[in-house]
């Protein structure tokens, strides 16, 4: 590592922390409907949307009504994207005459984009028309992120409420997230990206004769508008096959830096917003600190492994970014449930890949997905106060709410659902020809390919060890199902927890209250996260990246 490598890591982390209170405070004003300066620019749009759909913005929903609204909205999105792909050949904006997508792939893609996962079994430039990318995928990029915000907001309201069941309104949360946060940031960001060289047009692909007289077909399309939101909304689904390694998707070191920052910007800021909303910025910062520590330690291990054991290996990396930016990105994209890549994870050193896997396996709680990272982390907070409560023998509480059997049961469900997908589905793939025939590597790396795919699905990340041929019926269906369970198997328990907490009374803080705003708590929380993560996944990880690391050191190849 040289001086520039250290500097880039430092500036990245510094800017992330510096922007957190700024954006976080803005989010707080938006979600708690407080006045702010530029509100008038957007609020007319908000009110006219409510008028158009005939919604009273102050009407409240309980957790079941909220869940129904959320699920019905997401189901419509899923069906729309699914059907759109099946008939795209008959639809406009398809200058390359790309054919209709097969139903298993269409199912996989629809499930993937509706849930903010954005796993891609297809190559964008040779599979999807501009129409599908715009009307189908770009929309889901926005609303799936907004859905994440909504669920997290319900949980926060559940914690704040006293003895009532009014948890806000899904449509209002959705509208505010899009209008005030996602849309303005995306417009700004896409214009900056175009300035750096990201393309934004509706032209047909360009065939050129190169200097050495070869024919080269250069794909075009409305890329910038999709890339901006895929980075900001922790979506991660690339416009092109190689995602942000593609020069049209990420042309310069600056575009790379901003795209990298955008991965963590909203999830990180939302933790600050959480602190503001519950009336204790301090509580928010301690959760932030937990995430920051986990992120930084992962990054250090990943960087050490790559520079120490794999130095000089430049497979799957782009020269304009260099090794260090490939690693910062790798860590950010797997910590947040983004899943975009600027270098190929499959070609990184085994321990670096291990960190990526482990980040996802923890359930995307290290900043995590937009909204999803916070509610995922709060599940672990509930488990931690529960365990701490058991140790000292009192009823556990969090922010004045008693944590009882129901909350703990639901929290455990939220932890088990993704873990079940990761381990059981990988096991199924290992035992079937359909699973094994897609592998491109032999030895432990082949196992890692399958493990990575189902981890990415269960955790709703969407990044890949792209050697695996995932565009088969087996993987499209299995991964699609895994994604749905990994998303709603967490969302529904979280909404249920919110509903239950909401109807409880607030217990005033006393000297006997277990404090959640000090270093002891941070330490305990990290311990619980690591113990749950390690106990669940160590056996699987040891068969994949760990054994590969040891074999690499001994010089064995496959």
């Amino acid at each position: 590592m040289n001086y520039f490598d250290y500097l880039q890591v430092f500036v990245y982390l510094l800017l992330l922390v510096a922007l957190t209170p700024l954006i976080g405070n803005y989010m707080f004003k938006v979600f708690d409907n407080k006045p702010f300066k530029a509100k008038g620019i957007f609020s007319w749009l908000e009110t006219s949307i409510y008028k158009t759909i005939g919604l009273k913005p102050d009407s409240q929903q309980n957790w079941k009504q909220y869940a129904f609204a959320l699920l019905s909205f997401n189901l419509l999105g899923f069906l729309f994207v699914f059907v759109l792909q099946l008939i795209q050949k008959q639809l406009p904006l398809n200058p390359q005459q790309l054919g209709n997508v097969s139903w298993p792939l269409a199912f996989n893609t629809a499930a993937s984009f509706m849930t903010n996962t954005n796993w891609q079994s297809y190559a964008g430039e040779t599979t999807l028309s501009y129409f599908t990318q715009l009307i189908g995928l770009t929309v889901q990029n926005f609303v799936s992120a907004a859905t994440g915000f909504g669920v997290a907001l319900v949980l926060i309201r559940g914690i704040r409420n006293k003895l009532n069941s009014q948890l806000g309104n899904f449509y209002v949360d959705l509208t505010r997230s899009v209008i005030y946060i996602l849309l303005p940031l995306s417009i700004l960001f896409s214009v900056v990206l175009i300035g750096q060289g990201v393309i934004q047009n509706l032209n047909a692909y360009k065939t050129v004769t190169t200097i050495e007289k070869n024919q080269q077909v250069i794909p075009q399309g409305p890329a910038a508008s999709q890339i901006a939101i895929k980075q900001l909304g922790t979506n991660g689904g690339g416009f092109f096959n190689t995602n942000s390694a593609h020069p049209y998707e990420n042309p310069t070191p600056l575009s790379n830096f901003l795209e990298m920052l955008a991965i963590l910007l909203l999830p990180a800021s939302f933790v600050y917003c959480f602190g503001k909303m519950i009336g204790s910025v301090k509580q928010g910062w301690y959760i932030y600190m937990t995430m920051f520590i986990l992120f930084t330690v992962g990054l250090v291990i990943s960087v050490y492994s790559e520079y120490h054991f794999s130095s000089g290996v430049f497979e799957g990396k782009e020269l304009r970014f260099g090794t260090i930016n490939s690693l910062i990105w790798e860590n950010a994209t797997t910590a947040a449930s983004n899943g975009s890549v600027n270098a190929m994870h499959s070609s990184l050193s085994p321990l670096s890949a291990l960190v990526a896997l482990f980040n996802m396996m923890l359930g995307e709680i290290i900043f995590g997905g937009v909204g999803a990272g916070l509610y995922g982390m709060l599940i672990f907070v509930i488990l931690t106060v529960f365990i701490a409560g058991l140790m000292v023998g009192r009823t556990p509480e969090y922010l004045g709410k008693k944590i009882e059997a129901f909350e703990v049961k639901m929290a455990i469900m939220g932890v088990i659902a993704p873990s079940f997908i990761i381990l059981v589905f990988t096991a199924i793939a290992c035992m079937t020809d359909a699973g094994l025939s897609s592998l491109s590597s032999k030895g432990p790396h082949g196992f890692s390919e399958m493990l990575y795919a189902f981890t990415s699905a269960g955790a709703n990340n969407g990044s890949a060890f792209a050697g695996l041929n995932a565009n088969t019926n087996f993987y499209n269906l299995m991964i699609g199902i895994g994604i749905l369970v990994g998303r709603f198997g967490v969302i529904i328990p979280v909404l249920a927890i919110a509903g239950s907490l909401s109807e409880k009374k607030l217990i005033p803080v006393s000297s006997g209250t277990f404090r959640t705003d000090n270093f002891t708590f941070v330490f305990l929380l990290i311990a619980v996260i690591l113990i749950v993560g390690a106990l669940t996944f160590f056996p699987a990880l040891s068969l994949g990246p760990i054994v590969e690391h040891i074999l690499m050191i001994t010089g064995k190849t496959f």
């Binding site: 500097l7 880039q8 158009t52 919604l55 609204a69 019905s72 909205f73 190559a123 040779t126 715009l134 189908g136 770009t138 926005f142 609303v143 899009v178 849309l183 417009i187 896409s190 175009i194 750096q196 060289g197 934004q200 047009n201 360009k206 050129v208 004769t209 200097i211 050495e212 070869n214 080269q216 077909v217 075009q220 409305p222 910038a224 508008s225 096959n241 190689t242 390694a245 593609h246 020069p247 070191p253 830096f257 000089g312 430049f314 497979e315 799957g316 990396k317 782009e318 020269l319 304009r320 270098a343 190929m344 499959s346 070609s347 491109s440 590597s441 790396h445 890692s448 792209a466 190849t557």
Partner: protein
């Protein structure tokens, strides 16, 4: 039922807002402010589009600076990487082959180390850049292929130095040279055989 109907209505509104108005608005701004960038940073010479500044091309001719190895042979339909792991036998073999080829084409003693981007394929398969060092190592061979006098070498080295794109803001990314632009400049300044 009422909820379902509201879901449908707001879904349509969101589709129009984020799927139609937003991308078209960005397209209009992009096309107005950054026409060339929006349309792919194409390089046009004598009314002929010879490629995009951002999309790497295959250069294997002895008279040109060669680009990085590519898993897709610089065919962007679709972009792609090898995804080979560090424990892959195939990757080891490829790197050995690329090393030998680079050494023999450019007549470099085996003891001299080659910049790693010239041995390993990129993530996109379309990486338009090589490092300044990798360019400098090709100067002797290019001069020979083009039958240029000894004095041309210095001019070519200067051309390389002038073509270096530095780290953005002095610290972001890596120093690099755009191969296509360098080769176009090469053809302009030195005779082609």
């Amino acid at each position: 039922m009422k909820t379902l109907f509201i879901s449908l209505k707001i879904f349509l509104v969101m589709t129009i807002l984020t799927g139609v108005i937003y991308p078209l608005f960005v397209t209009v701004i992009g096309q107005t402010l950054f026409y060339n960038h929006s349309n792919g940073s194409m390089i046009v010479i004598n009314n002929q589009t010879v490629g995009s500044e951002l999309i790497g091309q295959k250069f294997t001719d002895g008279q040109y600076f060669n680009s990085r190895p590519s898993a897709i042979d610089y065919n962007p339909m679709p972009s792609g990487a090898s995804n080979l792991s560090v424990t892959s036998k195939e990757l080891k073999l490829r790197v050995r082959r690329n090393t030998a080829a680079f050494d023999s084409i450019n007549q470099i003693p085996a003891s001299e180390s080659i910049p790693s981007e010239m041995l390993y394929a990129s993530g996109s398969g379309l990486d338009p850049h090589i490092s300044p060092q990798a360019a400098l190592m090709q100067v002797n061979r290019i001069c020979k292929s083009r039958h240029l006098p000894e004095a041309a070498k210095k001019r070519m080295n200067d051309l390389i130095t002038h073509s270096i794109e530095g780290r953005q803001f002095g610290f972001l990314g890596e120093e690099r040279i755009n191969v296509l632009k360098l080769n176009l400049e090469l053809d302009k300044q030195f005779t082609v055989r």
